[in-house]
Symmetry: C2
């Protein structure tokens, strides 16, 4: 609460670095994007791959129970993921909670874009183990 | 010649942006990495994919006829590419020339790392059309 804009940016960067570390620890190579505005082309926060699975990830940390996402941000994530050949994923971590991973169709639409709240995340989103386990399972069947 | 360090960095960034634009124009989604030092994990300059082909690219612009590459830089490119499931590529553009794309085994080893000079690039490297054409060809056979 009451974080300055630069404080929120720093919090977002810290969350991105933590998620990148988690991905490397679990057999993925993961890369952080240059700041937005670097080129006019869409870019997610993180791209990760392990030779079989590829994820384009928009990464959010929230100290409130609902996080709002711009429509443009999500449509750019979708465009990048489709062109790249990756699954589009919104990764969100509420304060003192684990990461949740949610696909675009499972986000809640709002008049201005999309939202994900804590209850929705608990119901619809995947944990990290489920994210990589679910797709690992699919490959075995 | 005689460019300051910040001048060389700006030249490198401009080259990266140009290559990203070229990739998007040819059906790839491409993303620039955050500055090195952002995390302790390896990161190429650019990752690109089109649903079939994935490239991890170290991107160089050179105003001299020989470009030297640190051993560490190339081993990190190789590590990232292997974990991600991408082809490791060094992209180099000499002044007033087209892009050349060269794989790690085709670089020239030096006591301190690797080098690529203009003659080597003309002999061993692929043009952009060959890079995407060659692998497209492979997919059809």
């Amino acid at each position: 609460m009451g974080l300055s804009f630069s404080g929120r940016k720093a919090k977002g960067s810290k969350a991105e670095r933590e998620l990148i570390h988690l991905l490397w620890e679990n057999g993925f190579a993961a890369m952080r994007a240059a700041g937005s505005g670097s080129t006019k082309h869409p870019s997610p926060d993180i791209v990760a791959g392990n030779g079989h699975l590829f994820f384009a990830i928009e990464c959010k940390a929230s100290h409130k129970l609902t996080k709002y996402l711009d429509k443009d941000e999500i449509s750019q994530l979708d465009l990048f993921a489709n062109s790249f050949g990756a699954r589009a994923i919104v990764a969100i971590r509420f304060d003192n909670e684990q990461w949740y991973f949610i696909t675009i169709p499972d986000l809640k639409e709002t008049p201005k874009g999309f939202a994900v709240n804590y209850e929705l995340a608990k119901k619809k989103a995947l944990t990290f183990e489920e994210l990589i386990g679910k797709y690992r399972q699919k490959r075995l069947t």
